[in-house]
């Protein structure tokens, strides 16, 4: 490996540089080969996908697996809609509740600010499964079990504390002077927040919302326990549940469903990738 500030053209073909590119090539292969395998398999027939000597490229590429998803006895379209809706609602709810809290924790120095801030962070670190049983009973008593609302409540347990801390780091970066004029004019805090601060941290809000969305999308344990009707299930849980039945040997269909499950997350991820680094390096963030 050559030194960092050196012009790249200086030692283009040195052994160190060749080793560097070999290593990068290996890293790219390690990262992308499984994803390629998923895509390639999703275009194979059921028979080809389970062949003893796998084919690198689908012999007779077919979109039947994708078409099949929409047409099976399983409501895949409903799974997709359920997941998108519950994750989106969670992201919006968390961000709406967390924005004023993040603003207050960033700006105020009321006696409890530190304690309140760190206890919200501590909540974030709780093992989800610990609150699983009581949360289940809570939803049971509130008649929210087996409903999208119950799912949103579950996702909020980890999404909200995360959102507060991530957003706080974005508010911290807004110089307090910007609010001064409005303060002098006597506007109340919530109006300053809405009209001055929120427009400035909009990228941060979007990034935070995307993170909450991604984490909810990744969650398996809440839909698996809280949702009992198949039609109301989310995609990740449906993959697990249907694998015992429909996809037992149909890896082509499985990988098509997996690709569909990955796509929205991938899009969300790359949409916010740039401001993500800042949100993450602010240190306070729990996530991914």
């Amino acid at each position: 490996m050559s030194s960092p500030v050196q012009p790249p053209s200086a030692r283009r073909f040195s052994p160190g540089r060749i080793a560097q590119w070999v290593a990068i090539g290996f890293a790219l292969f390690w990262s992308l080969a499984p994803i390629y395998w998923m895509l390639s398999t999703s275009f194979k027939t059921e028979l080809e996908a389970t062949r003893l000597v796998p084919t690198l490229w689908p012999e007779a590429p077919t979109v039947a697996n994708y078409v099949g998803l929409a047409g099976t006895s399983l409501p895949f379209v409903a799974f997709f809609v359920n997941t998108v809706v519950s994750c989106l609602v969670t992201a919006v709810v968390c961000v709406v509740i967390a924005t004023p809290a993040a603003y207050a924790l960033s700006r105020a120095r009321f006696r409890l600010a530190g304690t309140v801030g760190y206890s919200i962070l501590a909540f974030r670190m709780l093992p989800m499964v610990v609150v699983l049983a009581p949360l289940y009973l809570l939803l049971l008593n509130a008649r929210l079990l087996d409903s999208g609302t119950g799912l949103v409540v579950g996702f909020t347990t980890f999404g909200l504390p995360f959102a507060v801390w991530m957003m706080k780091s974005f508010v911290d970066a807004v110089p307090i002077e910007i609010e001064e004029a409005a303060r002098v004019d006597g506007y109340p805090r919530w109006q300053i927040l809405l009209k001055v601060v929120v427009p400035l941290i909009l990228p941060g809000i979007l990034t935070t919302a995307t993170f909450v969305f991604m984490e909810a999308w990744n969650n398996l344990v809440y839909p698996l326990t809280f949702i009992t009707t198949m039609d109301k299930q989310t995609l990740p849980a449906a993959l697990v549940l249907t694998f015992t039945g429909q996809f037992k040997t149909d890896w082509g269909g499985m990988m098509a469903a997996a690709t569909i499950t990955t796509l929205p997350l991938m899009i969300a991820f790359f949409a916010v990738q740039r401001s993500m680094v800042r949100g993450l390096t602010s240190g306070a963030v729990a996530g991914a």
Partner: protein, 306 residues
Amino acid sequence: MAAQAPAATQARARPRAGREPWLDWMVLPTLVVMAVVVGYPIVYTILLSVEDYNLLDFSPANFIGADNYTKLFSDPIFWQSLRNTAVYTFGSVGISALLGLALALLMENLGGARFRAIRALLLTPWAVPFVVVAFLFRYMYLQNGGVINALLLSSGLASAPVPWLNSASLALPAVMVANIWAMAPFFFLLLSAALSAIPNEVIESARVDRAGTWGMIWHIKLPFLRNPLLISSLLMVISNFNDFAKIWAMTQGGPGYSTSTLVVYVYRLAFENFEFGYASAIGVIWLMMLMVFAWFYMRALRMERR
């Protein structure tokens, strides 16, 4: 980090930004929601942990004191799950951090569009949902027809297909490989950002002192990366303690209990046997262990902020 430091000092230097009712009220919704969805369940967990509560048992639950806790100490599966959790968590996080660090250092001298393109490609595994990671690797690990076994057989590295996920000794490492695949990009991203934040003067003066590549990494760069590395590792330790999706979708904790971590064991107890009381006792013990890590994390965080 650098951008927010001045703002934070300004806020601190301004005494009249002190108590304001509006600011107090703004935290309230968050606190109320947290109290209901997290605070209440925790209290409830502690209460459940001293009862013989079983959801299938219609007789009312009895107070049984510390029985659940004493039962736990003589429960071999609990200890196995604890060991699995430690191996899974520290193994995956340690290896991912090293891989991420190596990649970040490897890519450091590449700039511009080429770097951004390669970085985006290297980050993709992180954007794959956990359940998909699990099924993808499960497919590749297949004993008959899995691509990994096919490659091993055709290259002559193995004479018979390896039963990756069906072997009690190989299953846990196999799940960890999938986990590392998905997690290493996080460390890569974070450490890349931390590397680029090292002031140029520091690097320049080290170069003037004729520091070699390794000396530069060891004496100059690593000290700068210590805090980000510590914080991101602790963060990932906490989130791996909680990892359910990958293990459940790959092995359901099996074969036997060889890949059961505490999450999986608690889930099996609570939602397969409906032993809420016993599951809650394990939850409470676990909560305490996790709080120790959380304490270290917050200490690291406060030091970082200073």
